[in-house]
């Protein structure tokens, strides 16, 4: 079982790859849209990447609730 920090680090790599956000900026309290300037298409791509990387399924109605990096990490922890 990966730790919260390990998941955050892997997610940070993904966010960097997709949206060019520096990995050190991808911290649990950051909002994807408001703090990291991730647009809606990049957000979709990050969630698709999470499904691939962590072997989770993220339904559309659930994805709307994943506003911060911490939300996404918690979801992955609970469902992987």
């Amino acid at each position: 079982m990966a730790t919260t920090e390990e998941i955050r680090a892997q997610l940070a790599e993904l966010v960097n790859e997709v949206a060019g956000v520096p990995v050190e900026d991808v911290q649990l309290d950051k909002s994807f849209v408001d703090d990291l300037d991730v647009d809606s298409l990049a957000m979709v791509e990050i969630l698709v990447g999470c499904e691939e990387k962590f072997g989770v399924t993220i339904p559309d109605e659930e994805s709307k609730n994943l506003k911060t990096v911490g939300d996404a990490v918690a979801y992955i922890e609970a469902h992987s």
């Binding site: 647009d39 298409l41 979709v44 791509e45 499904e51």
Partner: protein
Amino acid sequence: MSLKASTGAPFARILSVGSATPSRVIDNDYLCQFIDSSDEWITQRTGIKERRWVGEGENIETLSVAAATSAIERSGVPLDQIDAVIVATISHYEQTPALAPKLAHQLGLGDAAAYDISAACAGFSYGLAQGEAMIRGGQATYVLLVAGETISDITDPTDRSTAFLFGDGAGAVVLGPSETNGIGPVVWGSDGGQYDAIRMNHTIGSGVKAGVFPTIQMDGQAVFKWATGYIAKAARRCLDEAGISPEELDVFIPHQANNRITDTLLRYLKLPEKVVVARTITHLGNNSAATIPMAMDALLTSGEAKSGQTALIIGFGAGLVYAGQVITLP
């Protein structure tokens, strides 16, 4: 009694490609008269700077004839030897007859089998799969495959999510028998559960009652998710089925619905730097079924791609449907 079966060629390949674009250039600023958007926003979200729409005297027939004429001339195949015509389109607005017989007649092809297929942005690869099978199965010796679209006719210029996406145009290829294989196995399928992800706002019937011409609508995020997830995997399967590694690939011509989908496909496929990638969307927009042959012609004409090179093509769109192959460029 025993029935005779048709026998075909060992393999098929694409002999030639041609394309046609309409004359009217529509830039992002023009469209921003009708929608609350900007050149910067459209470019950043889609990669599209401008597209071509049909103008005076131009329509799906004129574009299709021009593309087909170019492909036939380049192939050197005599007109009377082309025995099947497939037209891939979703923008020939007549329930019947199909565009293909009329096109065959205008081109002087005579008694060729001729019909249309409706597979949206995957139409070219669907038609290619059929044409290849017809040649190998002995149903035809030479096949003309035309993809023609004038999606501008069903575009609502005030719809902020689709107004800027589509461009008109046509592309055509001539397929023929070959001693070596030039068309890899098709990887194709559909997901009708997402039937309404790309849809018309009216049926013909309800449109007539409401006094409006039906226009295209799209759930952009659903399509983007499908394209960057499922389609990326399908593209990899095209390579696997053809027995080609990413390193052996020279050219990548995806259907260009959005430049950012292409970016994601590239990241997933991990194609080497040397692979030439079609980016005609920047000045032609999304040409639905015609995108792939139009881009193929553009890359060959500019010299960026060369005859005999190995290319991965994949189309995906309304249905949802998809199809892709590895091919040898004509």
